[in-house]
């Protein structure tokens, strides 16, 4: 194992499954023999607040938190949260963003504005963003809770271990608890992976044209 530490920041809002996604990433890294630290800043997250989880793994992990500017991957379960945490990425890091817009009461009451296009803001800052509607994929498969698996599928090709290891970690959990959900999670994982690949190819084409 190399000395390089992988830093993944998972972000979203309370109740979106940020903690679960981070736990699955951590368990996958453990299965690969890594040292792992997973830090949660939930605070009052249960009440609709911002939620982040820092996942760090490699040969030996010291600090439990990702230093700003060193995250390899940002997994954003919500688009404005993606923009909020994009400065955590290292140069060349990837923001994998679910395009759902969750409006808090302070916005719906008119005290604050929800940004027009958070993805454009991120891109204007030079961030590599792969954005897609994970919720639409999940709904298409009949269960909005599949967003979690879709997002993990989306980052699966950007991890220092094979995508199949992450998928096996997810399916293994369902095999133990809800065997009926194994097949649909397999599909969700594949569709997430495909969506990310399409966005990545699109981004490359865009770069080639410029």
């Amino acid at each position: 194992m190399s000395d390089i530490i992988t830093n993944i920041l998972v972000c979203g809002t309370g109740g979106q499954g940020v903690m679960t996604a981070a736990e699955i990433l951590a368990q996958t890294a453990i299965a690969k023999g890594c040292d792992v630290k997973k830090s949660e800043v939930a605070g009052m997250a249960q009440r609709g607040g911002v939620v982040t989880s820092h996942v760090r793994f490699g040969k030996k992990v010291w600090s439990p938190v990702i230093t700003p500017g060193t995250a390899d991957i940002l997994v954003a379960f919500e688009v404005a949260e993606g923009a909020r945490w994009a400065d955590m990425l290292r140069p060349g890091g990837i923001a994998m963003v679910n395009t759902i817009r969750l409006t808090p009461p302070v916005v719906s009451a008119g005290l604050f504005k929800y940004p027009e296009d958070p993805v454009a803001t991120m891109r204007a800052a030079g961030v590599t963003v792969y954005d897609f509607d994970a919720g639409a994929i999940a709904r298409g498969l009949g269960d909005l809770r599949l967003v979690n698996t879709v997002m993990l599928g989306a980052i699966a090709d950007y991890l220092p271990f094979p995508a199949e290891d992450l998928e096996e970690q997810i399916l293994g959990r369902f095999r133990a608890r809800k065997p009926a959900m194994v097949e649909v999670n397999h599909k969700a994982f594949d569709l997430g992976r495909k969506a990310a690949r399409e966005r990545a190819e699109g981004a490359q084409k865009l770069a080639a044209n410029q």
């Binding site: 453990i30 630290k37 830090s39 605070g43 009052m44 609709g48 230093t67 404005a80």
Partner: protein, 617 residues
């Protein structure tokens, strides 16, 4: 359930610090464990309760939890007590004298500091208690250390006849890291020995104990000097060396992998001689401590003047790599490497909100309607959110139970301007039992004019829903005696006719009742009795919807503050010589709505109705 409960010895698991401590407590042969919930400490007792062969309880407050642990220790059992930093303020009366008397069974008190204030009213450095009470302090830096140190703390406690503080921070409690667990040991309970007179702390006895306590501290200092918990990593880059403890050690190692580091696990009494020896091996010494300069000041007092600490580092918050790196580079006279590539972007905030159908919303909606006529002393719990949007109906939050005494003080210190304002105190069920009862008694005894709103949602909500003496269940979820709040406040002296129980979902009833009671010049208590929507006692009803062509855009329902209600459309009506009228037409997220009907009660045109089942196409 934590995987650690069933894990065999030598298993390697991903555990939070709190889960790791629970395992360590069980392995150490603890017989009695007690706590009152408080972030970030709560999960210690929740996890301990899952292990067999020990007694674990939610106590009514931290002082009682420590007293339970002290009684068990006096009786020869190993005992454990956990609390958040502010809990130790409550427990400190028992603590400060118990440390004089010592222990029989090992006694470990885990105190969790919320460095960075993720969910607390202040930031305290609990390492002070070690100095104040002359007891040793252990500081783990991650889950493995937390697990190992809690076990070592029990041994030290018995060896030196002293309680031990296990000082934690949020980054130990709530970080998951790899832990290799071990075997359960056994410690037989000796039982209480009535021939021992040392527990009766009369002045004469206490005077005899004081020299022993001072001598004990001297012995502990010697132990700290040679403790294997205080580690030196010699490093290769001698320009700057570090003395540090707790998670700050991890941040130092991350930031300066080649630097010499002395890590204090047994951090009080401070091993001054060992640090002096380390100091001699480095060019400059920096003390990195979260959060106060305790070790730094003690080293300076011991003659080490040429050291750095809070002259270059902040005295608040976490000392993460992005804080450490620029400070240390500046000390070396160098330019720090650039940190972030991408600019920081701050969209709208996402303040915590109450849950859909939260019974507290009915109370704050009503108080917001009386805003000009009341001053509102608040307390600690989910209902502290009443200070925020859209209610702005809470004026103070200081400490657990403080709403009562503060209300009385406000009542007794009125000005010409505030003489006609009613004083209202708002407190939750768990907080009332924790420390509010005494305050209400003081209000009654001293003829205060306070209307107390006791929001009984049958749980300890903010910490994630723990049972207490008013829920009818114990830490294990088993049936337990349930206090009757109406009888309790009557016993405290509130007149029976001034005690009311009300359903907070019935807004007009609540409104009339609060208005009636604030007009009466004596103490009253209004008890709301809807359970927390996240508790097992809550029954979800049928969701609601807004009939678009009936909605007049009055925004009453928005002002209830339910996150399931949002604005669908805004219309601004311009008026000559008068402010614009803003109409907000609303919609209800049927998936979030649980049908509590509070918005229905707020709606004049009756535009909110049960949602029809959606026809399948």
């Amino acid at each position: 359930m934590s995987a650690a409960v069933q894990a065999k010895a030598a298993s390697r698991l991903l555990l939070s610090g709190n889960e790791a401590i629970a395992r360590g407590v069980w392995e150490a042969g603890v017989k009695v464990a007690a706590a009152y919930p408080g972030t970030p400490s709560t999960e210690m007792l929740e996890n301990i309760s899952l292990y067999p062969d020990l007694y674990a309880e939610w106590s009514v407050n931290e002082k009682v939890s420590l007293e339970v642990a002290i009684g068990a220790s006096m009786s020869g059992a190993r005992a454990f007590c956990a609390m958040k930093h502010v809990g130790m303020n409550v427990a400190s009366d028992a603590f400060m004298t118990q440390t004089l008397a010592g222990v029989v069974g090992g006694l470990v008190i885990a105190v969790a500091d919320d460095v960075g204030l993720s969910s607390s009213q202040n930031e305290q450095d609990s390492r002070f208690w070690g100095r104040f009470a002359h007891v040793p302090v252990f500081e783990p830096a991650d889950s493995q250390e937390a697990y190992e140190m809690v076990k070592a703390a029990f041994d030290l406690s018995e060896e030196y006849n002293t309680p031990v503080i296990l000082r934690l921070t949020t980054r130990v409690c709530h970080v998951k890291a790899m832990v290799t667990v071990g075997e359960k040991g056994d410690h037989a309970v000796k039982g209480f020995d009535i021939t021992q007179k040392r527990w009766v702390m009369t002045p004469a006895n206490a005077k005899n104990m004081l020299p022993k306590q001072i001598a004990r501290e001297g012995e502990l200092r010697k132990a700290a000097e040679v403790s294997p918990l205080n580690l030196v990593d010699a490093g290769s880059d001698k320009r700057v060396g570090f003395v540090t403890s707790g998670p700050a050690f991890m941040h130092v190692r991350e930031s300066f992998p080649d630097a010499p580091v002395m890590k204090l696990g047994f951090s009080y009494p401070v091993p001054v001689d060992a640090i002096k020896a380390f100091h001699a091996t480095v060019d400059r010494l920096v003390i990195v401590e979260e959060t106060e300069p305790l070790v730094e000041n003690e080293l300076k007092a011991a003659g080490l003047q040429d050291i750095h600490g809070k002259d270059i580092l902040p005295r608040l918050g976490e000392l993460t790599p992005n804080v450490l790196i620029p400070a240390i580079y500046a000390l070396r006279g160098e330019q720090a490497p650039p940190t972030s590539t991408y600019p920081k972007y701050e969209p709208f905030p996402r303040p915590p909100t109450m849950c859909p159908a939260c019974p507290h919303m009915g109370v704050y909606y009503t108080l917001s309607r009386l805003r000009k006529r009341v001053q509102i002393s608040g307390d600690i719990g989910c209902y502290t959110l009443g200070a925020g949007h859209p209610w702005n109906a809470l004026d103070t939050t200081i400490s657990m139970g403080a709403s009562m005494g503060i209300a009385l003080g406000m009542d007794k210190a009125r000005s010409e301007e505030t003489k006609d304002k009613a004083v209202v105190a708002v407190i939750g069920d768990s907080t009332f039992l924790h420390m509010g009862m005494q305050g209400l008694l003081d209000v009654v005894y001293n003829r205060g004019n306070v209307t107390a709103l006791l929001l009984d949602n049958r749980t300890t909500g903010m910490t994630g829903g723990q049972h207490h003496a008013g829920t009818g269940k114990d830490l294990h979820g088993e049936e337990a005696p349930r206090i009757d709040f109406a009888k309790l406040v009557e016993a405290l002296g509130v007149k029976a006719e001034r005690i009311h129980k009300v359903d907070p979902y019935r807004l007009p009833v609540l409104w009339k009742l609060i208005r009636q009671e604030i007009e009466i010049n004596e103490p009253s208590v209004i008890i709301t009795d809807r359970p927390c929507v996240l508790s097992e006692f809550y029954g979800k009803l049928k969701p609601l919807m807004v009939v678009d062509d009936k909605c007049t855009g009055c925004s009453n329902c928005i002002n209830v503050g339910c996150p399931a209600i949002s604005v669908r459309k805004t219309e601004v009506i311009k008026r000559d010589g008068a402010p614009d009228i803003v109409k907000k037409f609303t919609t209800i997220d049927t998936a979030m709505c649980t049908g509590c009907d509070m918005c229905v009660e707020s709606c004049g045109p009756k535009a909110i109705v049960p949602a029809q089942p959606v026809a399948v196409e």
